[in-house]
């Protein structure tokens, strides 16, 4: 099963986005592991993730994290994050994994 890991400062606000994405994945009959981590857990995240997405509050760490992991890393669009748009963020993750 592929894993999508979302990173934010404490993994708190992002966990709601995770549940929205899980709901969307279920509706599409996709078997995916989606979880939120804090950025202090980037090494753990890189062990399980097929793709990593960053919340707006940690976007400044994008370049650092890119250097540390071998999977695709991107920042989540601010509007999609602000609207908790699970559909759009799931699409972004799938696209990065080459599954869309």
């Amino acid at each position: 099963m592929k894993s999508i890991i979302l990173l934010c400062s404490a993994g708190m606000s992002t966990s709601l986005l995770v549940s929205k994405m899980q709901k969307e994945a279920k509706e599409r009959n996709l078997e995916l592991h989606i979880e939120a981590y804090g950025t202090s857990m980037v090494d753990e995240a890189s062990k399980v993730a097929d793709v990593i997405l960053l919340g707006p509050q940690v976007r400044f760490q994008l370049q650092d994290i890119k250097k540390r992991v071998s999977v695709p890393v991107e920042a989540i669009n601010m509007r999609d994050y602000g609207m908790m748009n699970g559909k759009a963020v799931l699409d972004q993750a799938l696209q990065l994994m080459g599954d869309l």
Binding site: C8, M12, S13, L16, G55, P56, Q57, V58, R59, F60, M78, R79, Y81, G82, M83, M84
Partner: protein, 102 residues
């Protein structure tokens, strides 16, 4: 998603972007890239204003007598707002300092 929850996320997302810009600005200044640093401060200010507007809506909401339910999420949003505000001041000071050193 309920109104209050949506506004909380709007704040978190906007001021989160602002804070990221302010931190990136300090890093650019550290590398001597002062124009880029300044434009990141400007970009961050734009995002911060968006977050601030959302926050103002909340205050108006409360002032109109609507009961405002205090959630962890809203507390987090206010915390992020404060953090972004503080980072802007720090970033500007850092840029000045790096300019003097340059």
């Amino acid at each position: 998603m309920q109104g209050l929850e949506l506004i909380s996320f709007e704040i978190i997302s906007s001021v989160g972007m602002a804070r990221s810009c302010f931190i990136e600005a300090m890093r650019k200044a550290r590398e001597g890239l002062f124009e880029e640093a300044q434009s990141l401060i400007k970009e961050g200010e734009g995002y911060f204003i968006e977050g601030h507007r959302a926050h103002t809506r909340l205050i108006q909401f409360e002032a109109s007598g609507e009961p405002l339910v205090l959630t962890i999420l809203l507390t987090h949003a206010q915390d992020q707002l404060m953090s972004a505000e503080g980072f802007k001041i720090i970033a500007e000071e850092f840029i000045h300092t790096y300019q003097k050193m340059n």
